[in-house]
């Protein structure tokens, strides 16, 4: 309200001056500066990267590639991938699906939207899965569903905890009903791991929505979320169209979910290794292998 008033005054002042305020913001070179999508503040890219891609003003945790996430999470050289050569097919013959997958694969170096494997985190062994939103918004089709299910089955067999860094636009519609069934497949595998006594930690990252929220992402024994990230079931625009009202800014943020009771804690990325290894220690997992490589 007050801001509107200032704006009105400013506009009038500028009108009177005969010099209209320059509306065009200067173009931001992509590699030099980062503009926070949450608070709009601008920061030098090297500083942003030094902070592990978090906003110095509002602490929004920006999206990471799966590779970047692995680098700041796992002990150095400890990661052994599972099912790394699995690729999608085109079950409903969706036009140009293969082409799109190929293009994204070339761009990202990934085969699909999730990497899974085994690693140590400060010496604690765990099965990890990391979703990469650059790959078709990390939507869940057959490959994501199968890799997640196998990761849980591997963990069940080997009595290992599972840590998933989730990000997703939801089910991969290009795979039709098959993508919906991946929700049942993954949730079923989580349930079996859980019934066998396995520990599952979910780390919700930007953005976690749709069919992934409505399946394995919401089933962690412990659910952590990075600050200010988007988490929800339905898309913001869909809800806005349904209720015909503007939604509050904090709607579907990690903090909104914490207040609603659906997240155990907000976890800062810069101490994530410590947070995760501490939880593993408190579940009586023993330290093995390499430790304190970094972080």
């Amino acid at each position: 309200m007050l801001e509107d008033l200032f704006k009105t005054v400013r506009d009038r002042f500028n009108e009177g001056n005969g010099e209209p305020e320059k509306k065009q913001a200067p173009e931001i070179p992509k590699d030099l500066l980062f503009k926070c999508p949450r608070c709009q503040s601008v920061i030098y890219m090297d500083e942003f990267e030094k902070r592990k891609k978090t906003c110095p003003t509002c602490n929004y945790h920006a999206r990471l590639t799966a590779k970047e996430r692995l680098e700041i999470t796992a002990d150095k050289d400890s990661f052994k991938p599972l099912d790394e050569n699995m690729t999608s097919v085109n079950p409903i013959s969706f036009p140009e699906y293969e082409k799109k997958v190929k293009a994204l694969s070339d761009l990202t170096g990934l085969k699909d939207a999730v990497i899974t494997g085994v690693c140590t985190i400060r010496g604690y062994r765990a099965v990890v899965g990391i979703m990469d939103s650059r790959f078709m918004m990390a939507s869940m089709g057959s490959v994501v569903g199968e890799k997640i299910a196998r990761a849980f089955e591997y963990a069940t067999e080997n009595k290992l905890p599972v840590i998933l860094f989730t990000a997703s636009g939801g089910a991969r519609m290009q795979e039709g009903i098959i993508s919906l069934m991946q929700m049942a497949k993954t949730a079923g595998a989580v349930k079996r791991h859980s019934d066998a006594g396995g520990l599952y930690i979910t780390v919700l990252t930007d953005p976690t929505t749709g069919g992934v929220t409505a399946s394995f992402a919401s089933l962690g024994d412990i659910i952590l979320a990075e600050p200010k990230v988007l988490i929800g079931f339905a898309g913001r625009r869909v809800i806005q169209d349904t209720i015909k009202q503007k939604l509050p800014d904090d709607f579907q943020t990690a903090e909104f979910l914490l207040a609603s009771g659906f997240v155990d804690a907000i976890a800062d990325r810069r101490s994530m290794r410590k947070t995760l290894s501490n939880i593993l220690r408190l579940h009586n997992f023993k330290k093995i292998g390499a430790e304190w490589q970094h972080g």
Partner: protein, 267 residues
């Protein structure tokens, strides 16, 4: 059985007088006794649940409610459940497990409701929990898709030992309209989407998603609701008998495998 396109079937299931669970439940079951509420927040009119007998066997019935007119639709929110609806369903599923009653779910929804309150009360968590818990529910679960089964909102009542679909019913990852709107930014291409998506009962038999197609009278269920109810009833009596004869560990193993094997990929 008729060979109709997905679009033709879409038109049939959108007939205003297509029968709903309000027609089917009295025709199929005896002594239906409705139970309300999730014991946490409230009672959701989009999901009707209770106990009844099917051919004198006690069963638990959980059903998504399409309204037949505006008043009914106001009460049932056009069959779009809120989290408390899914939690009511799960409460009654646990009850069925405790008292060894088979569970019969009727799916008929465009999807879970999308709204501020639904998000606040954990729509995603409610659906996820149903999916995971139904997977290991120690009693037979049978789901029947009556009209449209849309997205996770349908799946939350469709993790089962057997999934049957009425002949003209459609079951999809998202409504054809939503599909067209998201992938092509053009909701008016709904019919094209319906054809492309492979969402008819026959398509879903091929994917291993649907196990049984229940015939409808020629032209659609609305032309003879009583006959359609008889067809559903005949299937359910048979399925309950068959599945009740399977020991629980085998039943659960088969249920897991039914979903576990769905997926197409190279490696």
């Amino acid at each position: 059985m008729s060979k109709l396109s997905a679009t033709q079937r879409l038109e049939i299931i959108r007939q205003k007088n297509r029968p709903t669970v309000n027609d089917y439940i009295p025709a199929i079951f005896n002594h239906f006794t409705e139970f309300h509420g999730d014991r946490h927040f409230g009672d959701d009119g989009a999901i009707m649940a209770g106990i009844a007998t099917l051919n004198s066997t006690p069963v638990t019935v959980i059903a998504q409610v399409k309204g037949r007119n505006l008043d009914e639709n106001k009460k049932s929110n056009f069959s779009m459940p809120h989290p408390e609806g899914y939690r009511k369903a799960l409460r009654l599923a646990y009850q069925a497990e405790k008292f060894h009653r088979p569970v019969i779910c009727f799916v008929d929804t465009p999807g879970a409701f999308c709204g501020v309150e639904a998000e606040k009360r954990g729509q995603g968590e409610a659906i996820a929990k149903n999916i995971a818990e139904f997977m290991t529910l120690k009693t037979p679960v049978i789901s029947v898709v009556l009209g449209e089964g849309g997205s996770g909102g349908a799946l939350a009542l469709a993790v089962c030992d057997e999934l049957a679909m009425l002949e003209n019913a459609l079951y999809s990852v998202i409504s054809p309209r939503g599909f067209a709107s998201i992938l092509w930014k053009d909701p008016s291409r709904e019919k094209e989407a319906a054809e492309l998506m492979k969402i008819t009962a026959e398509d879903l038999m091929q994917f291993g998603v649907c196990d049984k197609i229940i015939p409808e009278p020629v032209g659609g269920a609305h032309l003879d609701a009583a006959q359609t109810a008889d067809n559903i009833s005949e299937y359910l009596i048979n399925a309950v008998e068959r599945l009740s004869a399977v020991d629980i560990p085998t039943l659960l193993d088969n249920r897991y495998k039914k979903f576990r094997k769905i997926g197409m990929f190279n490696e």
